[in-house]
Symmetry: C2
Subunit: 419 residues, 2 copies
């Protein structure tokens, strides 16, 4: 099945510049981009023609770190740091997801918001609960979204209701892996973070990851107190990243680590060597007083970086708002580093929000030939006046001052999603 | 005329706590708050009863620093620092306001957005142009908004189209003062900043301010290069604040200075002594790579602080977004200061956004007896789920995750504004 989208097509092939195709045609076959043409002699009769003239067509947003179960907690408890915030707000909310009815209500609203915000691919934490995790995967699949979903694993240092038996935790994770059969919504191994996982649990999860070639996600060096705590728990291991590495959860299969604020040069080098992605969560890092990730350094080392909304440490699923906060944070880091770590440019961060994070999936986040046709139609007419703006100025205006109402349609593999 | 508003009434009398009156009655006489009652035996027959049960009722937002003429530039040019940004984007846009038709289109849209965002009082820069400034004052007055509006004064270091003759600049400013007769929309003396004002201009404006008892607004220490430039221009004067003070524009009449990032302790002391307000523009300070204002220090010194959206250095007129960014910035300042400058709390920043900035007006930003009944009706039903949230959690959720669609109605002096 062939589809042709017409409009002002913008995407990033590499971080340093935009590819701008004004008034052009995006040719899609079987949900995958074939090519972009500036001119078409005529529209072939055997294809569906979608005329979005004067609208922006951009890749769907990619969010590589978020906690779906914290959706109802958005905007609450923003006066605490990581560890007390987890204990006061987050863990009690997550405990509710043992109740499948509660999970259904919360996850249904979450999925609607994800679509409304234009996030077509995401890497998600659910909770420790197998049933509600599988329910979430089903809801995402029915909504036609692309996602990795991780049942959280925790067998120490959490509240009683969330503390798992080590073997059960591994067994239930395996059951989810074996039962999943969607092409777009797949499982991911999710040890929450070192403090809440015993060595036995981490080793068991590593075996699963390797046996079934399933990717891994976790948290790394978000907060100085957390880093100290990890050092106390594993005094014999040289640093936080090496704990994951020692127990087989650091690039043995495709891996993404969230936050990475207080990571040493040695750890960043290890990430590069093992192909580990970093999920940059600028908004959450502000809200939880965590700090500012030195993203420029990661880029200089050649580490893959994508964006994470990290709800509900982050207070919105909006990736455009994450783009703005990421640029702002990088400017403050520039000042803080005595102007050594140069601020991130608009194209660099747009790349992270699309192709950068999309690399964790396959062929996602760009309009190069062979990429999945996941795209957003942006109607920015309410943001324009009688000044003349070029396509890139329009994109910047939309990201900085538009909102979800500007998203006219969302497509995954060229299929229009219900909104 | 008596009006009674019923709902969940929240405001701040002081920065450290909220006054919460659930399911209560706000009694207003002739546009001014008389009292809040928890119970009413009956509704008097001679008054208008406005039943907003289950809605939040909060003071209208106060924005004490913004550039109305930059409204169309929102979201553009976010890759530059202050001085190049002014020359590339801002000054060329401001030059267009010589054309009254352009001004009418731009300012009409600006005023609509101000109402939609719930900002009922604001302190505004227009441009150097007398006619379009008076047009803006008229549009604000007709919209029933409360504002100070300043024709900008510049007689050096700007582009030719914006560089005024010193005497004409003073004369036109006086003409605006003499012609203004609104109770809600008043003139304010507006030397743009030291680099663009000669000594003669500043002295002339000071005389006007004192002669007519008109307040003053300007910029102070926004960017390190700007501070250096001022030092080069006035090597004989000890610091930036003292330049304004020497030429009679620093508290001789009511004064507000925007940004105040790189201000010395001596300058902060001078602000306190002269009763000069600080306008904190967190979003703009991020976007223009300016830095983070040490707000806690100003509060410790007892300086009055309000919030400024500072469009289009700031990328939105939304004061809720300014509240969020202000808290975020203060958390980064806390880390940067080795945890000496304690983060700002939600109530402290809500206070700045209402009563703190409102103090620059008279009796604005609170629901204490005698305050102007400027208020917003917030319908937050779409943000709630079947968890039970108290009024303060609902307010925090609205500020952190709501938007202008949650503002159901806007009142100034108890009169409903058109939206």
């Amino acid at each position: 099945m062939k589809k042709i989208f017409k409009g002002d097509i913008i995407y990033t092939k590499n971080p340093n510049s935009f590819e701008v195709n004004k008034d052009s045609y995006l040719i899609v076959e079987d949900g995958v981009v074939k090519e972009i043409c500036r001119y078409l002699e005529s529209i072939p009769s055997d294809c569906e023609y979608l005329d979005y003239t004067n609208k922006l067509i951009i890749p769907g947003f990619v969010d590589i770190h978020l906690h779906s179960s914290q959706f109802f907690n958005i905007g609450l408890g923003m006066d605490k740091e990581l560890i007390p915030w987890l204990n006061t707000y987050t863990f009690p909310e997550e405990a509710k997801f043992r109740d499948l009815e509660y999970a259904k209500t919360a996850y249904s609203k979450f999925v609607i918001d994800l679509v409304n915000k234009g996030t077509t691919s995401s890497v998600i934490y659910s909770t420790i609960h197998k049933e509600s995790t599988m329910l979430l995967m089903d809801l995402l699949d029915k909504a036609n979204l692309r996602a990795y979903v991780g049942k959280v694993n925790m067998d120490r240092n959490t509240i009683d209701e969330l503390c798992e038996n080590t073997n059960d935790s591994i067994k239930e994770t395996e059951e989810i892996i074996l039962s999943s059969n969607s092409n777009r919504v797949k499982p991911i191994i999710t040890p929450r973070f070192v403090p809440s996982c015993s060595k036995e649990l981490m080793e068991g999860l590593s075996k699963l990851a390797i046996k079934y070639n399933v990717p891994v996600q976790s948290h790394l060096s978000e907060n100085t107190n957390e880093v100290k705590w990890v050092k106390e728990l594993h005094p014999d291991i040289e640093n936080y990243a090496s704990v994951y590495n020692k127990f087989g959860l650091f690039g043995q299969t495709k891996t993404v680590m969230a936050h990475c604020i207080y990571t040493s040069d040695e750890e960043i080098e290890l990430m590069k060597k093992k192909g580990v992605f970093a999920a940059h969560c600028a908004i959450s890092n502000f809200n939880l007083s965590s700090g500012i990730m030195p993203v420029r350094k990661y880029l200089d080392y050649g580490v893959d970086v994508g964006l994470g909304s990290d709800i509900s440490g982050g207070n919105t699923l909006s990736i455009p708002q994450s783009i703005v906060s990421t640029i702002q944070a990088s400017k403050m880091k520039w000042l803080e580093s005595n102007k050594k770590l140069y601020p991130l440019s608009f194209s660099e961060v747009f790349y992270m929000a699309t192709k950068g994070g999309g690399k964790f999936f396959e062929n996602v986040g760009s309009f190069e030939s062979g990429y999945n046709a996941d795209l957003l139609i942006i109607d920015d007419s309410n943001l324009l006046d009688f000044n003349k703006f070029d396509c890139l100025e329009r994109l910047q205006k939309y990201i900085y001052s538009g909102n979800e109402n500007n998203i006219k349609a969302v497509y995954v593999n060229a299929n229009k999603l219900n909104r």
